[in-house]
């Protein structure tokens, strides 16, 4: 398990720490507890999404619909609380169930209708966004659009214990559960097997369809959590929630060492990847880099990260070759 789920991604952590150190050195505002709070609360939801996204990626798939699922879950929560006046303890699980179901639909399309994950989730990305517009209480009753959500349970994720936001604890729980799922359960082994060699998985009796559906459901559930974190921070939800966020989640997962080919990776890397992206965004702002130069730097960092990763892989392959040669 340690071998395949290679827990601490050493190189990534080094890059992460160095990045933080550089920004701490460059900016006084960066090395404050306030900034720590900002990083933790500002990117916990991205990290949760990245953890969720890792499962489809491990299967060799992809989930483009997470942003739309977020919007759907967020709008459902908004409607349930503002329009229907339901209490938080119903709204929260309700939104999560909806998000999970939306993810499950992705899974069914992929497993049962044999659609390519990219196109299946692209289709649901449009459909869920449409559904969000359709159910939007903000559109139907414009007069309530500006009413904030005040239920203490729903807005709790915006609170802190010391300097650590609840949202971060939620991330820790999601991370721990998914990491355990991958590391110590048969289901986790099955996921890696399917991602590594789907035919082998099928032939050794793994229920591939079920694993696919469960993985996309978990991805949907994570999108639900991410939506709730944002809803709690915004005290409302908007129809445009989560547009384009799938790319951040995928980028975080890939930086975190999850292979697009499937079968390789863990969920610790994606969490670091998400916070790395966050630290870069905040750091560049605090250092005073002009706003339009930031995407250029972010892109170069991404490119540098995969290139470095590639070098390591090649070095490792050479080492194996050398070992084999020395010990035939």
């Amino acid at each position: 398990m340690i071998r395949t789920a290679r827990l601490p991604n050493r190189e990534l952590i080094i890059v992460f720490v160095v990045t933080i150190a550089v920004f701490c050195w460059l900016s006084g505002s960066f090395r404050t507890t306030g900034n720590l709070e900002n990083v933790l609360i500002g990117f916990s939801h991205t990290a949760i999404l990245a953890v969720g996204q890792s499962l489809p990626l491990l299967l060799g798939g992809i989930d483009l619909s997470v942003g739309s699922i977020m919007a759907l879950a967020g709008m459902a929560a908004f409607d349930a609380y503002i329009v229907l006046g339901l209490p938080g303890w119903i709204v929260l699980p309700g939104a999560l169930v909806l998000a999970t179901l939306a993810g499950a639909v992705n899974g069914v399309l992929i497993a049962k209708l044999k659609l390519q994950p990219f196109i299946a989730t692209l289709a649901t990305m449009a459909a869920y966004r449409g559904l969000t517009y359709a159910i939007s209480g903000r559109q139907i009753w414009p007069e309530i659009a500006t009413r904030p959500i005040t239920d203490p349970l729903i807005v709790a994720f915006d609170d802190y214990v010391g300097h650590v936001p609840y949202a971060f604890f939620l991330l820790l729980i999601v991370f721990a559960v998914v990491q355990l799922l991958l590391g110590v359960t048969k289901f986790g082994r099955d996921l890696y097997t399917i991602g590594g060699n789907v035919e082998a998985a099928r032939l050794c009796g793994i229920n591939v369809d079920r694993a696919v559906i469960i993985s996309y459901s978990i991805s949907g559930l994570c999108a639900g959590f991410a939506a709730l974190v944002l809803v709690s921070r915004m005290t409302t939800s908007t129809e445009s929630l989560g547009i384009g966020i799938e790319m951040s989640a995928i980028a975080a997962a890939i930086i975190g060492g999850v292979s697009l080919q499937g079968g390789i990776g863990n969920v610790f890397g994606p969490v670091i990847g998400a916070f790395l992206l966050g630290v870069v965004l905040i750091g560049l702002n605090l250092v005073g880099i002009p706003t339009y130069a930031q995407p250029v730097l972010t892109g170069l960092i991404l490119l540098g990260a995969v290139w470095y990763d590639r070098l390591l892989v090649q070095r490792r392959a050479r080492a194996i070759l050398a070992k084999q040669a020395a010990n035939p």
């Binding site: 505002s29 404050t32 306030g34 900034n35 709070e37 900002n38 609360i41 500002g42 990117f43 939801h45 517009y133 939007s136 903000r138 559109q139 414009p142 007069e143 659009a145 500006t146 009413r147 904030p148 915006d158 944002l230 921070r233 915004m234 005290t235 409302t236 939800s237 908007t238 129809e239 445009s240 929630l241 547009i243 384009g244 966020i245 966050g278 965004l281 905040i282 702002n285 605090l286 005073g288 002009p290 706003t291 339009y292 930031q294």
Partner: protein
């Protein structure tokens, strides 16, 4: 979405009265246009503040919604003033069209203890908690065009809602009170869109109940998509008499199509925003009209307000009442467009 606009609800004139304190700032900003303001705390402290330029360097940031001509013009207006003052480090930050990014940027600049924040919120409610947080940190927040639902230092806008009502009236007048109208709209999820759409519908209801909106299609703020949508709508409804493009780009997309099809004289097309290209189109007699405000000026106002707040010793916690600065706007049509000076065009 309707907004409370104290004392000015119902006035439909293009020029508005101005409160004394603001004329100073307006002058400082080198502008002669007029504004209207509601609120107390601002005016009380504005005068002396201008007289005491400080040598201390301060940082002010503008968090825009997304890269766009309007926010760029604001930014230019802001930068122009700060350049004159010489002691402000001004930074533009991009919200990437995402509320969550804006929230994170708000957190970042609050932590950076900036002297003032200019904010063009993606959503009125969504950014309210961040605005509150800034208030707790004693940082004045000045919202541009879209208000936040939490109280903050000041809000400067060209009323989209009222403007859209007037556009509906002007369009209806030109169409003779009847006919078919289509709206080329933005996708849901942005406050501006809702304000303009609701205002337009309200305007038709109020002034021209005989006009029917036969289609409302989304073109993503985009001129090319607006072209596609309008040419498609024309195929099904050759007798469309009016088009409301929720921004100028989309209205100009409709103009492109109408010109190609040779029906530019038969369709009354209105836009919103008042960007340079739209004004020129009006002068050429293509676009029927748009809602114009001097966006540079809006930026200068914002800069002036911020300077007062940052240097004048008004604690942010004291903003029990929020300052409203309503930008004067013109419904620019062929008749009125000449009154807009080249220096005001953006």
């Amino acid at each position: 979405m309707s907004k409370k606009i104290p004392a000015h609800e119902g006035t439909t004139g293009t020029r508005r009265q101005i409160l004394g304190g603001f004329s100073l700032m307006a002058l400082a900003a080198g502008a002669a246009a007029t504004g209207a303001v509601g609120g107390v705390a601002l005016t009380a402290s504005s005068g002396p503040a201008m007289a005491a330029p400080s040598t201390k360097r301060r940082k002010m940031v503008f968090i825009q919604h997304q890269p766009h001509t309007v926010s760029t013009a604001w930014s230019e207006g802001l930068a122009e003033v700060f350049k004159v003052q010489g002691n402000i480090d001004y930074q533009l930050l991009d919200g990437q069209n995402k509320a969550d990014v804006q929230i994170s940027l708000m957190d970042t600049v609050i932590n950076d203890k900036v002297a003032a924040i200019f904010l063009q919120p993606a959503d009125s409610v969504a950014l309210a908690p961040s605005v509150k947080k800034a208030a707790r940190a004693g940082i004045p927040v000045i919202t541009l065009n879209i208000d936040a639902t939490a109280p903050h230092a000041a809000h400067i806008e060209m009323s989209h809602y009222l403007g859209a009502i007037e556009i509906a009236k002007a369009m209806g007048d030109k169409m003779g009170g009847q006919g078919k109208v289509v709206i080329i709209n933005a996708p849901p999820g942005q406050t501006v869109r809702d304000a303009r759409t609701n205002g337009f519908m309200e305007g038709l209801k109020r002034h021209h109940p005989g006009i029917k909106v036969i289609a409302d299609q989304v073109a993503d703020w985009d001129r090319k998509k607006a072209q596609d949508v309008f040419s498609t709508l024309l195929a099904a409804n050759p007798d469309i008499g009016g088009v409301y493009g929720v921004n100028d780009s989309m209205a100009l997309g409709a103009v492109d199509v109408a010109k190609t099809k040779g029906i530019i004289d038969k369709v009354v097309i209105f836009g919103n925003d008042g960007e340079k290209d739209a004004l020129e189109s009006i002068e050429r007699g293509e676009l029927a009209g748009t809602q114009f405000t001097d966006v540079f000026q809006q930026g200068r106002f914002a800069a002036a307000v911020a300077t007062v707040l940052a240097t004048g010793g008004v604690p942010a916690t004291a903003f029990a009442e929020q300052g409203y600065l309503l930008m004067p706007y013109v419904i620019a049509t062929k008749e009125t467009v000449a009154s807009i000076q080249p220096s005001q065009r953006w």
